[in-house]
């Protein structure tokens, strides 16, 4: 909690979205820049938000049979180079340890940009028989991908993430696993973070280096740009072959297993900010909010102060341990020596779902004023009804934010059938653009060069629809999802 009571001002979302975003992240004390180029410091409030989504995703990962493990930070250069497409994709972004313990290293060590190459090398000792499969592992760790243009949470040289790595006896099992990973991400995004997403397949140009194909979920931010919210990759036998992993199958044949990997990162803190936030700052869905309700005492005289403090203590005691859909109710009381106005500003900036104001007249009437963050809707509520009502209000608010984001996406999703229309939409605020594409990577690149938009995914639920490619007019079988993206 900031100990200063000055009203914090931030830039307006509608006028300067990047400036607004930066102000929210820094002034709500979520994260900050560090003396290390491109690396961020995650402050307590931002880290608590990350911990909430991390723990929820961890529950999904465990429930689907994966086990947490740890692999080294370093990937020797000789291993990284085994899968040709993989190293080509990551090499420009690698940070290299060339010297350690006072000596120059013969085999340089990459700080892991991702762990496929190392894991494939290790598990070849663990996978001997079909009985050793499936191997379902998950890692929570830090990775480094050197970036020149960084933005807090969204693009940083070091970030925190989860990377699952699995191996399977059959291609079908691996196909199912790619879907399991993606579904975990959808569930956390939609049900925990209240961020609606579209599932789909990445184009060849956009897939993970070394993968057979990549799936992702795509969300729409309030500035009309898309954000990729998690990716799940079919690695096929690529890494297994490169590392020489073989197992004896039921049919007594030696085979390479099929691999998958999937990852979800701290950039989702940024996605949460940009999906729900407004000109007053953060707007947090109750499931992920470190504080769900903040109680602000209102008083002028010392007598009033005492009466209000007493009532708040009783409320606090009554609310302790009350169950909500995301664990015990998280209530905080702001007892700082500040004006109510500066406290309102402080907690609105931090996106706390509900504020409960209690003044002397409220105490006399056994009530308080409950104010909903996103629209400042006020209601008078009996203090002895809080324990029963707050969990319902929070569930309603969670649903409201999701619906609000769905509505925003609907209002900012468009169809375009030619390049002129496509560019008009981008000029007019952007958003999701569903448009026909022939499937040729050259057309994809040309659109990107001309407009800055990329194909986010080929959505799984895109209906068959004959059309003509935006660029070269060749036949298209369905619309794909375009947007400018983070």
């Amino acid at each position: 909690m900031s100990k200063s009571g000055f009203v914090t001002s931030i830039r307006r979302q509608s006028e300067d979205f990047p400036g607004w975003y930066n102000d929210v992240v820094r002034k709500a004390e979520l994260a900050d820049h560090s003396p290390v180029r491109g690396c961020m410091i995650i402050r307590p409030y931002g880290y608590a938000i990350w911990e909430s989504m991390r723990d929820e995703l961890d529950r999904h990962i465990r429930r689907t049979g994966h086990q947490n493990v740890y692999f080294p930070l370093f990937v020797p250069r000789s291993l990284l180079e085994k899968e040709a497409e993989h190293v080509e994709g990551f090499d420009p972004q690698v940070a290299w340890v060339t010297r350690a313990g006072g000596k120059d290293l013969d085999d340089w060590l990459a700080i892991r940009p991702t762990s496929e190459a190392l894991i494939a090398e290790v598990v070849k000792d663990w996978i001997q028989s079909y009985r050793d499969l499936p191997l379902l592992m998950n890692l929570w760790n830090n990775v480094v991908r050197w970036e020149l243009r960084t933005r807090l949470f969204l693009r940083t040289a070091e970030f925190l993430w989860q990377e699952a790595h699995t191996f399977h006896a059959t291609e079908q099992e691996a196909t199912d696993e790619v879907a399991t990973g993606l579904e975990a991400y959808r569930a956390v995004c939609e049900e925990w973070l209240a961020i609606p997403v579209i599932k789909g397949r990445k184009t060849e140009n956009e897939k993970f280096p070394g993968a057979v194909y990549s799936h992702s979920i795509e969300a729409l931010m309030r500035d009309g740009k898309a954000l990729q919210g998690g990716t799940s990759h079919m690695l096929g036998q690529n890494f297994a072959r490169a590392a020489g992993i073989e197992f004896l199958d039921r049919d007594n044949q030696r085979k390479n297993p099929y691999g998958t990997s999937w990852g979800f990162t701290t950039r989702m803190v940024g996605a949460t900010i940009m999906t729900h936030g407004d000109d007053s700052g953060l707007v947090l869905p109750p499931n992920v909010a470190p504080h769900q309700v903040v109680i602000v005492p209102i008083f002028r005289s010392d007598d009033d102060r005492l009466a209000v403090a007493g009532a708040i203590e009783r409320v606090e005691a009554e609310l302790a341990g009350v169950a909500t859909m995301s664990g015990p109710l998280r209530v905080t009381v702001d007892r700082r020596e500040e004006t109510p106005g500066s406290k309102f500003n402080h907690w609105e900036l931090r996106g706390v779902p509900f504020r409960l104001e209690i003044g002397p007249r409220d105490v006399a009437a056994g009530q308080g004023v409950l104010v909903r963050r996103v629209d400042r809707l006020k209601e008078t509520i009996a203090l002895d009804a809080l324990a029963a009502e707050l969990p319902r209000r929070l569930a309603g608010y969670q649903a409201l934010l999701f619906q609000r984001a769905l509505d925003f996406r609907a209002a900012n999703s468009h169809e375009a059938d030619d390049l002129a229309g496509f560019e008009r939409i981008l000029d007019d605020g952007g958003g999701f653009i569903h448009a026909p594409w022939c499937g040729d990577g050259a057309c994809e690149k040309r659109i990107n060069e001309q407009t800055g938009a990329t194909i986010r995914v080929i959505p799984f639920d895109a209906p068959d629809e004959a059309g003509r490619c935006l660029v070269d007019g060749r036949p298209s079988e369905r619309r794909v999802l375009f947007a400018r993206a983070y």
Copy 2:
């Protein structure tokens, strides 16, 4: 779970302790070596043990008012060099990133060996007034200290740990904080891991580089060697001065705050193994055991198999969610197609506190045979009493292991008053040696060179006792704790 049913043999603890340790770690699938020199892979079972102690320590850290944060992996060389003693202590162990993003770096980046230097630099922007203090932060992360001779969990080039970093307006508050950190470690060691520890102060030679003084807890392993189980450092104003952190105090004077830092690492998984393990493998205290009870069905005929399976399903359902002192009861049923003997071996190697054998005659009698891991004590127990009795049995077993470790320590703690006696004790199996020391670092070094033992700590509870230094005969005011150590 290993899918092969071969009985796994390990070396004997009494004959080859290092060999036994290595066998336990690898054959119980806790951890393994990696293709990266000095770095380990933590496998699911070992990682679950780490997660248990991590989560318990995290609860202590939060309860005492600390907040989790994240700081970058990298410390620029220019920052690491600001505190002279600090850089001198860590420089030989640093791994350096000299090249990143395709370019050589001007300011090399150390992979953090610890984060004091970076944090001091950052918080100078956050600490302006006494109202910004205390600043109580905690980080869960990975650090690298380049080691040539490594041992799984105990000494690895990369390890996982928690590092708390705090800043205070007064020296007294920092003094109290050093004690808070150490007490959290004592509580986790003694109450969670059942490892008795001795609290004390490190000598000048052994303190943290850059600290004013260091406190630690010391435990005794079953081979008679000591292991440091967590350290808590008074940094005084050293790092604050080096980084230029100043705050305006209540008296309107600008001052440097006082700092502390304290850390607890994955080596404590190794300490748990070496405190409790025996010739059959791991012995886990119930609080930290990933599985507390394993149920093994016993049958020969198919009819028996069905009857036993049915009874076990009923037991499983009845035990689901039963509360124990460390959360819901963790029960697993071993339904693999293996002999009971190989299953017994499998779970004994993994240190599961209780095995419950259920055969057809047991089903008929409504009972099972409960076998305690550490001494194979058997009792017949009614199946419908399990839900009530198992939490008590686990609490009793937790206390038993702690008492067993206390007894072992008592039997292996000695006093020595001269160097000949001191060396006899070391030749005779080692252990803790309480002996007089004059306080001179030269004597301390001489003992180390001659015997391999070091002063572990000057125990807080060592009574005043006039004596003469082991080495040079000068006066000593109390005994200090010597041992050979990990």
